[in-house]
Structures are given as C-alpha cells and as structure tokens.
C-alpha cells in the first residue's frame, strides 16, 4: 500500500516538474519549486530516510524558496517568452531518458533486501555502530564519524558558498546594518499586526526546536545541518516580521562571519586534536580515555561546528541578498 502512495507522490512530482518548466512567470516557478521540495521530502520519508526528509524540507522548501524569492526581487520576475525553441535538445534529452530507463531493467527492485547495496558495508555500519559509537541514529554515526571527512568537506562547501556570496554581494561602502533601517521596504511585515504578533510568538519556539534538533541528532532525525537550517529559518522569520535591521542588530555581519569561521575552525580543530593525541585526523576515539566517550564528544563537537557554520552562512546569504535590495 505504501508503495502505491509512493507511486502517487512520484507522479505528482513529475507533474510539478513539468509545471515548473512551463511556467513563464518565474514567481510561479518558485512557488511550484517549493511544492516540489515538499513532495520530495514526503517521498524521502516514505523511503525511510527521515534525516534527509528533514533536511530537504528545511532547505528545499524553506531556505531555497526564500533565497530564490530574494533573487527574484533583485532581478526580474518574468521570463521573456522565447519564440522558437530548437528541437534538438528535446530529441537529445528524450534519447538520454530512454537510455537511462533501459539501464533500469538490470537494476535491483525497490526494497529488494538482496540488492548489493545492502550486502557489503551497510550491514557493518548497522551492526558495529552500537558497539563502536553507541548512538542509536546510525545516520549520525556515519555522518559525523565513519565518514566524518566527507562532512568536513560538506562544511567547507557551505563555507565556500558563504565566502562567495559575501565576495560577490557585500556592499562595504554602505556599512551594513545602519543604512538599512531607513528604507520603508526593510520594515518587513511590520504594519501587519497579526503576522507580527504570531511571528514574535513563534520565533523563540523555532530556535528552541532548532536547538533540540541539534542536540537530539544522536537519538532521532536531526543534527547540525538540519538545526542550522531551522535556526536560520527562525531568524529569517524574525527579519520578515520585524525588518532586516532588527535581525541584523541581533546578529550582525561581523558576528555571522565569526560564526562561519568559528565553526570551520572548530571542525578542523577537532580533527587536528585527534592527530595531536596520537590518533589519525578526525579520530575521535583518542579524545577521551574511553573510546566510545571520545566518539560521543567528537560527534557533539563536530555537529556543533556544522550547526554554527550553516546558521552563519545561510543568514549571511539571506542578509546579503536583502541588503542588495536596498541599493537597487
């Protein structure tokens, strides 16, 4: 039955994607992208990927939509209707689709427990995690420890994006926060009483929930990245109802840059601590006398590092887009 739900959702996904493609109003395309992400997240949930579903919802439906809208506000929200569409891309794409579908017939079916994917390393993770790391959430264990080096890379990818947006959009002559407060547009939804009151009420809960997700990641779906996305979503909500300048007063660009760099330093620092204490890079077992306790400590620290950097970067990007708005 659940498989059928999956099939239904997947069909909706395709319809939505076609809708995105056909929408000439970019704003409509962005709206549909939000729906697309929600469907994707529900699909991930059905496929047993709770952590991924949480991330996709926070990032795809939340942050990505806000960023796309921010960019639309700065550019143009209409796609210029183009007259002639060349036929060859469509033919090429159709051929490639058929090729990929042709390959599927040799693939293991969905949910097949005998598939090679479930034979080699995956059972090892599931069996050894309770003994070696002792956290219930195996995804967190792999993410932060077994493949912690990938996560270090992930953190630096988002770090790079933050650096890039700062580099491309920073507007130093304007001096950041102060110049923003003058414009009427930076007032957010201030003159709407109801959203403002409810928003104010909700923001602390979102941040609290984000912290819960951050520190509960060992036991349930969650972790640094999801928490970072949720907390920054909360602060973005604050900026929406109270205006950019208020949000920037709470967390200025300086503080955000400190968070970005601090998180990155913390992660690399934990790795180097492993070397200094006689292990390999990112070896948490040596952090404490008891290897399992060391793993717990290491995972806690690197998740905190990821949370810090992600919050910093997402907010920096949001504020950079918003600050650009004032200029144009």
């Amino acid at each position: 039955m659940v498989t059928l739900f999956g099939v239904f959702l997947l069909t909706l996904l395709v319809i939505t994607a076609v809708g995105i493609l056909r929408a000439e109003h970019l704003f409509v395309a962005v709206m549909l992208t939000g729906i697309f992400s929600l469907q994707m997240a529900a699909m991930f949930f059905i496929l047993d990927a709770a952590d991924v579903a949480l991330t996709e919802a926070a990032v795809g439906a939340g942050v990505a939509t806000v960023l796309l809208l921010g960019a639309l506000a700065l550019t143009n929200d209409r796609e210029r209707p183009s007259g002639i569409r060349p036929w060859w891309p469509l033919a090429l794409i159709a051929a490639a689709t058929l090729l990929v579908i042709y390959a599927t017939f040799d693939q293991p079916r969905l949910g097949d427990p005998d598939a090679p994917v479930h034979q080699h390393v995956a059972p090892w993770y599931l069996e050894e995690t309770p003994r070696l790391i002792d956290v219930p959430n195996v995804v967190t264990a792999i993410l932060a420890s077994f493949r912690g080096y990938d996560t270090l890379g992930e953190l630096f990818v988002i770090f790079t994006a933050g650096i890039g947006v700062l580099f491309l959009l920073a507007n130093p002559s304007k001096g950041g926060a102060l110049s923003l407060s003058q414009s009427a547009e930076s007032q957010g939804l201030r003159h709407h009483l109801v959203p403002r009151v409810v928003g104010r009420l909700v923001v602390p809960f979102i941040v609290l929930f984000g912290l819960y997700v951050q520190f509960h990641g060992d036991y349930g779906p969650g972790g640094g990245f999801q928490a970072g996305a949720l907390i920054s979503a909360g602060i973005i909500l604050y900026a929406l109802v109270e205006g950019e300048s208020m949000a920037l007063k709470a967390l200025s660009f300086r503080v955000l840059a400190g968070m970005i760099a601090g998180g990155a330093l913390l992660y690399v620092g934990v790795g180097i601590a492993g070397i200094l204490l006689g292990g390999n890079f990112l070896d948490y077992s040596v952090l404490s006398a008891d290897p399992v306790a060391g793993q717990h400590l290491g995972i806690l620290l690197v998740e905190a590092a990821v949370g810090l950097t992600v919050t910093g970067v997402l907010l920096t990007i949001f504020h950079s887009f918003a600050a650009r708005d004032q200029k144009s």
Partner: protein, 90 residues
C-alpha cells in the same frame, strides 16, 4: 483507518497541486502552496503512525514551522513587488 485518512490527504494534495498549476492569480498559488504544506504535515503525522515510528513527529513539527515561514516570505515578496509597481505607475 490511517489508510483512509492518508488517501484523503493524498487526493487533496493533488487538488492543491492542480490549483497551484491553474492559478490564475498569484494569490491562488500561494494559497495552494500553503494548503500543500499543511497537507504534508498531516501526511507525515499519519504515516509516522502507519509505520509505527511515532518519534518521527519531529519532522511534522519542523514542516509546520518551515511552511509558515515560506508563506510569510512569499507574502512579503508579493507586497514589496506590488508596492514597487505602484511606485512605477505614479
């Protein structure tokens, strides 16, 4: 019985999607997105029980939070946009 509720929710998702695709105004689409968001929250809650993993209600909570922010962001965008266009007219 969870199944009955799930089917109703899924069908409603399809209806909301249809509204989002049809429009015709921007506000209709925002409405559809909002509907879609609440339906996703419901779907997750129900499926969490269908799967017998009640600890995943966390996800539903997160979705509810995110959805609200998304809708407000869209409204702010629409509002700024109409303001700007009014400026351009005068």
């Amino acid at each position: 019985m969870y199944l009955a509720a799930t089917v109703a929710i899924l069908v409603t998702m399809a209806l909301a999607l249809a509204r989002a695709l049809l429009g015709p105004t921007v506000y209709d689409r925002v409405l559809a997105v909002n509907m879609f968001g609440t339906k996703t929250v419901l779907l997750l809650s129900v499926i969490a029980y269908l799967y017998d993993r009640p600890d995943f209600i966390d996800l539903a909570l997160a979705y509810a939070l995110i959805n609200f922010i998304g809708v407000l962001a869209v409204l702010k965008f629409v509002q700024d946009f109409t303001l700007r266009h009014k400026d351009a007219e005068h």
